[in-house]
Every structure is written in C-alpha cells, then in structure tokens.
C-alpha cells in the first residue's frame, strides 16, 4: 500500500525535549526507582525503552532492567489474519513479581495492543503496578485504556497512519502523519 505524507509533526529536537520531560515525570512519579522495570513492546517500544533507561541512568545513576515483549500470541484478532504473523521472542530475563512495570510503546490507538501486553505480563507474574508510556496518543480508543506518560497528543482521523521513526532503526527521529493513497474499500 502506498502512503502519502500529510505532515511532519515532530522532528529530532522536539522529540528530545518531549523525552526529557516524560523521563522527569517518570522519576518524579516513582519514588522507589529501584523497583522499576521497563518492558518495551516490539518493535519500537524496545528502542524507546532503551532511551528511557539511558536517560534515567544519566540523571539518577540507577540501572533499570529492560525487557522485550512480543504480543503476537495474545492478540485478539489472531484468528482473523489471512496468514499468521511471525512470532518473535519475548525476552524478559528478570522476575516481574511485585515490580513496578513501565510498559512502553510508540503509538496508542485502539488500546488493543496494550490489553494484549497486560495479559501477557500477568502470565509472567504479578507486578505491583503497571504504568504506560506512549510516545504518541492518537485517540480512537476501543477499550478503556489510558497512558500515564504521553509524548504528544495527536488528534487524527481513523484513515490516517502515524509513524514514529527512530534513529536506531529508521535512520532519523521524526513523527509523521501519512494517509494511504488511492481508494480504500
């Protein structure tokens, strides 16, 4: 599917500032940082998680454990796919029992990914709490999910697509709104 770019919403300096603000909020909010663990949702949540962990380390000299979650097996639309999605690994090599979990994803949309992620986390153990970080909240929720930390609220139409590009995998930092070109059925 071809997409045409409608707007560049954030660039690298803007994203950096947003990051600093949110990480400060996270530190403020979590009095006991030693108990915090970060779990990034594949794929971009991993890199966002890494950046948060690094900023916390720079500011507070505390190393936060970082895990990776693949939610494919927990999706509610799993049996609707034409073909299976490739499952990738969940890599969480620490116990999350009684931990404060910071769940990290790039875009919050319907809330279904977060529902799946929370189900998956509960199968790994009972955390003390789960907080949610998303870089972009674009609205259109279908489930009662809200984020604790948001980089930017971005009102969108359902037809639009939001891309959070990260240097680590996409080459540069930017947030784009695109739209599928051509008629959709």
């Amino acid at each position: 599917m071809k997409e045409k770019i409608k707007a560049k919403v954030m660039d690298s300096p803007k994203m950096k500032r947003a990051f600093h603000r949110i990480v400060t909020e996270i530190i403020e909010h979590n009095h006991n940082l030693e108990n915090l663990v970060i779990i990034g949702i594949r794929t971009r949540g991993i890199y966002l998680g890494k950046r948060i962990a690094k900023l916390i380390k720079d500011l507070e000299k505390i190393k936060i454990p970082l895990g990776v979650l693949d939610i494919t097996l927990y999706r509610d639309d799993f049996l609707e796919f034409e073909l299976q999605h490739m499952v990738k690994k969940t890599e969480i090599d620490f116990s999350i029992k009684n931990k404060d979990v910071l769940l990290v994803d790039d875009v919050l949309f319907t809330g279904r990914t977060i529902r799946a992620a929370m189900d998956s986390i509960f199968d790994l153990g009972r955390p003390k709490s789960i907080q949610l970080f998303v870089f972009i909240d674009r609205g259109h929720r279908e489930l009662p999910v809200r984020a604790d930390y948001v980089g930017k609220f971005l009102p969108t139409s359902r037809r639009e697509i939001v891309h959070v590009h990260l240097k680590e995998i996409d080459g540069n930092d930017e947030v784009l709104i695109t739209e599928p070109s051509g008629i959709i059925k």
Binding site: L73, F78, L83, V87, K89, S120
Partner: protein, 312 residues
C-alpha cells in the same frame, strides 16, 4: 516469511525457507515452557486430535503439551477402546472425527502414506507423527532445531546416522531435511539394514563404523527396533553391539565438539553405551525439550490465520 501449508505430511514437501520459518517460530516458543504459567491464549477454541494407531509416549505427550500450552483443546484417541477394533475403516474413523469439527488431526500409523490419504478427504489439518517407514517430520524438525542451536548452520556439516536405517522413518525425514539444508549425510549400518538404494537420496553409506564416523560433527543414533527383528537382520544383539555400538573409543574419532543425538527410546548399552548417553556430549534430553517448541510452532503455523482452502 509466511507459511502457507494446510498439512504437515513430510519434510519432502517443505522448502528450505519453510523449514527455516518453522525453526525460527519454534525459537520464540521455547521461552513459554520455561515460564511459571506455561500457557498462552493463542489457539483458544481450536480442537486437536491425537490419533495414534501405534505406541508412543514421547511424541504423543509432546503434541499434547504443545497444544495445551497454546490453549487448544486436545482429545486423545485410544486405540484399545476405540471402534477400530470393532472393524471401522480408517476413512470412517477419520470422517467421524472430522464431523466433530476438529481443526487438526495428528496421526501415527504403521502404514506409509496414511496421513497423505487422510488429507485427500479430510478438511482438518493433518499432521504426520510417523507413518510406517516413510516419514516422521516433527522429529526431523526438532533434530534440526537442536543441531542449529549447537552448530549455528547446516552448511557442510558432517552428520552420520547410525543404526537401523532400513526401518527408520526418523532417518528418512532427517536425510530429506539435512540434504535440503546443505549438510553432508553418511549412513552407517550393517548391510542388511542399509540397502544401497539409499544412495539415490544423495547420501554416502558406509558399513564400517570406525571409518564412517571420522570427523563427524553430528552423530544421530537410531534405536534398534527389537520388535522388527523377527527376520534376523543381524545374527545377534551381541554381534551388533560389538560392531555398531557407539562407544567412547569410537566416539573419539569424531570431531572434538561433536554432539550425540537419539530420537529415543534408547536401548541402553545396545546401540549406545550408557555412559555416553548420559555424558555432556549427548543432547538427547535437549531434543525432547525442543520437541515441544517445534510442535507448538507447527500447530501455530497450521492453525493460525483464517481457514484456508482445502488444498495442499
């Protein structure tokens, strides 16, 4: 790479890319069996049948656990208490099971080709868990997974398969798979258990253990199928032991980092000396552990996604 197969009938029908997809998928499932809650909701609502016309503990329970860890429902069909002993034909048995809206049927049968036959009229996915002397694809896949875990790649590996090759579906599936992935395969067995026709599969054969095992990377032992020895393929178990048992002395001729595999069940001190079977070189229990991840991957890849056309 997406996987678009309805059935798993044999390694013969898989491409190298499809094999890699299965192994990669299994890699992700390995971790689930190590969790405290060993279950994911993925195949909730799917029904799987274990239809075993031959004895099995490992394969049957491995499939059962794989299905359960993916939240599918599984029914074990017990031959002794079934209508097969009342004279029901295979086709009728299968049609009746399918009429109960099953999604997959895992079948083991003493006749080669039974899974293929079932796939011609049954709308459920058919998974071959061993058919006669033909194929045992999930065993070959879990063996490949275990080899890849240790050796990283198949290209140019020297794999020797030793023992009752003639009666072994495990050997056939492994030969197909290893050749597809670019490994070299040498078969070692007494001549009556190793017909020269095997050469047409692109493998080397050797009747001399000491020569054949030289510089091997992977050693796959096969079980001497004592239940199939009524035709006297070799004079005595003692003679077999003397010439074809994997002993420390023979093993020393293989590469230093060679691994020992066995599909089980082992006849200790017949085809393999007990101390070697328990040694650090042996990955036999690892194979069993990996078996569940492979079978989870197969169920996931065959049952995931929308219902596909009833074709192969």
């Amino acid at each position: 790479m997406p996987f678009n197969q309805k059935n798993l009938l044999g390694i013969q029908y898989l491409s190298p890319d499809e094999i890699i997809t299965i192994l990669d998928t299994a890699e992700s499932f390995l971790e689930i069996s190590k969790r405290e809650v060993k279950k994911v909701p993925t195949l909730r609502g799917k029904t799987v049948v274990n239809l075993f016309f031959e004895a099995s503990t490992r394969t049957r329970s491995s499939f059962e656990l794989a299905a359960k860890r993916l939240s599918a429902d599984i029914v074990n069909f017990n031959l002794n208490s079934s209508s097969v002993i009342k004279g029901e034909s295979l086709k009728d048995t299968v049609l009746n099971l399918a009429a109960m809206n099953t999604d997959a049927i895992i079948v083991r049968h003493s006749c080669a080709g039974v899974p293929h036959f079932m796939s011609t009229f049954c709308k459920s996915s058919i998974i071959n868990a061993g058919d006669g002397f033909h194929e045992h694809p999930t065993q070959a896949l879990l063996d490949a997974f275990t080899i890849r875990e240790r050796k990283k790649s198949f290209e140019g590996l020297k794999t020797v398969i030793i023992g009752d090759v003639l009666h072994s579906r495990v050997a056939r599936s492994n030969i197909f798979l290893l050749k597809k992935m670019g490994a070299n395969v040498v078969l070692i067995a007494p001549p009556p258990l190793l017909p020269p026709e095997f050469k047409s599969l692109g493998v080397n054969i050797d009747f001399n253990f000491e020569r054949g095992i030289e510089d091997a990377d992977v050693i796959m032992m096969l079980r001497i199928q004592l239940e199939r020895q009524q035709r006297n393929f070799f004079p005595s178990i003692r003679e077999y032991r003397n010439l074809y048992q994997l002993t420390k002395k023979r093993f020393a001729r293989a590469k230093k980092n060679a691994i020992i595999m066995h599909p089980g069940p082992i006849n200790r001190d017949v085809e393999i000396s007990a101390d070697l079977a328990d040694s650090v070189k042996s990955v036999i229990l690892k194979q069993v552990e990996n078996g569940i991840a492979i079978r989870m991957a197969i169920l996931y890849l065959l049952l995931g996604g929308k219902d596909r056309e009833t074709t192969n």
